[in-house]
């Protein structure tokens, strides 16, 4: 999606994470009762192994020349290269907001908002140049989002007896 040397970058991210786990593991008690392994043994051993294997993988990638290659641009792509990246980020961010608002806004409202925005974002981004946004389709989408969230709420809370967050107005 982005023209970066991303495989190398991802290796480095994982390396940093493993390093952090290893550093944290150093604070764990290393004394073992009864001749068994200590609580620190597995975290240390595993994170060290990850670091080692990542380094090997990077060296092998360097030798084979795959680590630093740029991603091939997709010939069939119908949209500019930044569009999928933005869409990806928007959906991921939307999920975070959904999780944040689930309890304060209650299930029904937050879900309806999420469904509406999620589909809307993808639609707007995939819109052909010059295509206008039909108000009728927006309303249809809003209706869909509202109906689905209410229906799912009823099925889960009444049918499956699963307690979902509510704001306490009219039972939703």
């Amino acid at each position: 999606m982005v023209k970066t040397r991303s495989d190398a970058l991802f290796h480095l991210v994982l390396l940093a994470l493993a390093g952090w786990f290893l550093q944290q593991a150093w604070h764990l008690p290393a004394n073992a009762a009864g001749g068994s392994l200590s609580p620190a043994f597995f975290p240390r051993a595993i994170s060290s192994a990850i670091v080692l294997l990542l380094l090997i993988s990077m060296v092998r990638g360097l030798i084979a020349g795959t680590l630093l290659t740029r991603d091939a641009t997709n010939e069939e792509a119908t949209a500019p290269a930044w569009v999928p990246v933005v869409a990806w980020g928007a959906v991921a961010l939307l999920l975070v907001f959904y999780a944040m608002l689930l309890e304060p806004l209650g299930y029904v409202i937050s879900t309806a908002l999420f469904l509406f925005l999620c589909v809307a974002i993808v639609s707007v981004l995939s819109r052909q140049r010059g295509e206008s946004i039909a108000i009728g389709r927006v309303l249809m989408l809003a209706l869909f989002a509202a109906t689905v969230s209410v229906a799912i709420f009823l099925i889960f809370s009444v049918g499956f007896e699963i307690v979902l967050p509510t704001i306490g107005v009219m039972g939703v």
């Binding site: 009762a33 689930l102 995939s126």
Partner: protein
């Protein structure tokens, strides 16, 4: 014999059959939804069984269990959402096949393989339960550790693209599995005073994040790049059970059913590894191991037959020893006890007709599972005709609600998102997500048991090789590891 005849009479009454069917249907629906587990479905129906005779109530709950496992495979096949850890192996081949436009074929194989696995385990359950239970008791800490090593070797086999990257992914799973209260000394590891992490990272948010959420994130990108995800209505193949195609792989069916039943009967072995073991086994026996992971029918047959054989296997220690292996059988056992029946050795002598009634009800539940799916398959594949934009949003919604429902804990939702992003990049750079799940499942088993084994032996490592079962597993693991490396080498050399 008299007990068996009496038991037949207890099951074959129209209202008992109806209730078993209803339980199966509810299980199927709940199992297909991400996050809703078999245990939750059974717990939901539990109060209804109080007023029923034991065989009727247990029949309904067994139907729910079978249905939930089968339902998990439907969403694994169509949407890459493994409803239970044991359907992870199903996603490896069934989902790629469905993506090719052969969703009907993938589900058709699933249905037949599940049915055969389920019926096989039912036969074993009714004929061989006591000796298998005795075998399961021989598993002590050393044996469990060796078994988990055996399971970890599979990481090499499911990481088809790059062995080193696959191992890294497996180790990431193992590392995440160390989060929480350490199982032997009670020390907090990586919990940062977060209550939700005290008992470790919950498996379900990890599962759904790594598979479903990461898949949707990939779909979002592909949506704009003309990726290979278009399901057109005219491309959809015919959806029906594929009897002949499935039965042609009878060797895989047989070995996977046996593995599933036995691993299912070992309590706490993380029954979910049964389907991985069968998948691995099928790949090793196969003439075309390189096709595994690309939508190969043998892979689906292996995982699905084993997946449903696990159910019958898990009932063995529960009914004969009173030891439930995992959550769903624990609720089932609760249901039995609330009925006033204590499972265990005495069940066979004191309540013969009831125990045989339960066996027969389990057969019937498997038949209902087949019938409901047979009629339902046309409906299931309709899911793929939902416009992609809507489907992506709906899948994410179900993932969030399902994961929230597990513990009513919003933390799990964030955890799922984190795993979703991690999974997206792991797949993108060929690390793979299946090894992470294997690591997550096997990590706690491996660590707690080796530490228990050493605690019991006073620090003497030789227990691992002086005990026959443990030694066997370790030797076979080593042999398998070499075989996989050799197989990979043979596969890759002609290409490069």
């Amino acid at each position: 014999m008299g007990d068996y005849l009496e038991a037949l009479g207890l099951v074959f009454q129209w209202h008992v059959l109806l209730v078993i069917g209803a339980g199966t249907l509810l299980g199927l629906i709940m199992g297909a939804l991400p996050g809703l587990t078999a245990a939750m479905a059974i717990a939901l129906l539990l109060p209804l069984t109080f007023g029923m005779p034991p065989v009727m109530g247990m029949g309904m709950l067994l139907g729910t269990l079978c249905g939930a496992i089968a339902g998990g495979s439907v969403s694994a096949t169509l949407l890459n959402i493994p409803g239970t850890p044991s359907s992870v192996a199903t996603t490896l081949d069934a989902f790629p096949m469905a993506r090719r436009g052969e969703a009907g074929r993938a589900l058709g194989i699933c249905i037949v393989a599940s049915f055969i696995g389920g019926i096989f385990s039912a036969v074993v359950l009714s004929l061989l339960a006591p000796p298998i239970a005795d075998f399961a008791l021989r598993f002590g800490p050393a044996e469990y550790f060796a078994l988990s090593v055996f399971g970890l070797v599979i990481i090499a086999s499911v990481s088809s693209k790059s062995l080193i990257k696959g191992l890294v992914a497996g180790l990431i799973g193992l590392l995440i599995a160390t989060v929480g209260t350490d199982p032997v000394a009670g020390v907090q590891r990586y919990t940062f005073n977060n209550l939700s992490l005290l008992t470790g990272v919950n498996l379900l948010p990890a599962l759904i994040g790594l598979f479903a959420v990461s898949q949707v994130l990939k779909d979002v990108v592909d949506y704009f790049s003309g990726g290979p995800v278009e399901h057109s209505k005219n491309k959809m193949d015919h959806a029906r059970p594929r009897w002949m195609e499935t039965l042609r792989h009878w060797k895989v069916l047989a070995s996977s059913s046996v593995i599933g039943t036995i691993v299912g009967a070992i309590p706490g072995a993380g029954g979910s590894i049964g389907s991985f073991l069968s998948y691995d086994q099928a790949k090793k026996m196969s003439k075309t191991p390189e096709k595994f992971g690309t939508g190969h029918p043998e892979g689906i047959v292996a995982s699905e037959s084993s997946n449903n054989a696990l159910v019958g296997g898990a009932l063995i220690p529960m009914l004969t020893l009173g030891i439930p292996g995992e959550a769903a059988t624990a609720v089932l056992m609760g249901g039995l006890m609330i009925q006033g029946i204590s499972p265990g050795p005495t069940l066979f002598t004191d309540n013969g007709s009831i125990i045989y009634g339960i066996f027969i009800a389990f057969f019937v539940a498997n038949i209902f599972m087949l019938l409901i799916q047979w009629f339902g398959i046309q409906l299931f594949v309709k899911v793929l005709q939902v416009p992609r934009k809507l489907l992506m949003a709906l899948i994410l919604m179900f993932c969030v609600i399902g994961v929230y429902a597990v513990d009513a804990d919003i933390f799990n939702v964030y955890l799922m998102l984190g795993f979703g992003v991690l999974g997206y990049f792991l797949n993108r750079y060929d690390f793979g997500t299946a090894p992470v799940i294997l690591g997550l499942i096997l990590g706690p088993i491996a660590e707690s048991n080796i530490r228990r084994a050493l605690l019991l032996s006073g620090g003497d490592w030789s227990v691992l090789v002086t005990r026959p079962i443990s030694l066997t597993f370790l030797l076979v693991s080593a042999a398998f590891l070499f075989f996989t490396l050799w197989q990979n080498r043979r596969q890759t050399t002609p290409h490069s």
